[in-house]
Symmetry: D2
Subunit: 97 residues, 4 copies
């Protein structure tokens, strides 16, 4: 667990970030509706790809903020660990989970 009191890379644009996540949440709800109303499988898959792309964009934004703020802003001693942590996150995103 990481303390939640410090500021983070994304702190300065929390509102647009939450707005984007809310839109993604709505897209997922829309897919539920598509399944419920028996929409064509391929159309549903297209929507899933759209959600994936939107999540990738959010992830890249967070990675960039994190690199700029937390990695570069870290003390010389903490930086190697922070860089490693960043790359582990990149690896996870490349393999998707």
């Amino acid at each position: 667990m990481t303390p939640t009191t410090e500021t983070h890379g994304y702190s300065t644009n929390k509102d647009p970030l939450i707005k984007r996540l809310r839109r993604i949440e709505g897209q997922v709800r829309g897919i539920e509706g598509m399944v419920d109303s028996d929409r064509y499988c391929i159309d549903i898959l297209t929507q899933i790809s759209a959600v994936q792309a939107a999540l990738d964009k959010v992830a890249l934004g967070l990675l960039t903020d994190h690199a700029e703020h937390c990695v570069i802003g870290a003390s010389e001693d903490d930086r190697p660990e922070k860089t490693q942590e960043l790359m582990t996150a990149v690896a996870r995103l490349m393999r998707r989970g």
Copy 2:
């Protein structure tokens, strides 16, 4: 646009599918909460990767149902087009959107 009256590959397990999508919707809402309470960027990225992995699973399930039901079940004449459509969906999922 595709007609919505016919049955689809996923028709027999609509309920578990909707349940899984609802869980994913909840995960996205959880990420909003993490941003709102200033959680550590890397922890948020881990959650985004988890949502991507869950969406990949849903997509693979839909692809399989579609292949088994709509592609193989298609008339000989429609099959090449259906197969092409399936592969376009696979390509989109590989590139993510």
Copy 3:
């Protein structure tokens, strides 16, 4: 292990397929040369992305040939297993290995 005597989905266009793979092999060799001559990391990464995209295209072509030829051409009894096998390959490509 699978017998190698039967014809496969890609049999009719083996030559262009081998040509594409040979080009990919050359691209990888080009990357070795870039490392050897101390080229800029980001330029090397761009080339790696290009190879990945080229491999994705080859994979999609093989998947399509396989779906059209081996899955649809299978006996009714073998088809569920063949479809499952196809989807396992898709899953592996989506997660990349």
Copy 4:
């Protein structure tokens, strides 16, 4: 174009990097052989996934070296641009090309 005289993040482990790329080149050549000897499509796809995974590993290694060396080592003025460049490379790897 980027000058090639400066040292890079990967300079200290050029030999193992070239060795890994040579192995990947050999894997691609192996896939050509599989096509040539009419091996089963799914077995070929499995090998393609293996090459993709190997390339991802090389890419992650390069990204880490680059982050540690070129981004963090950059002057304060150059760092935002270097970080942006790194993230563009990550985005390309996530979408694969």
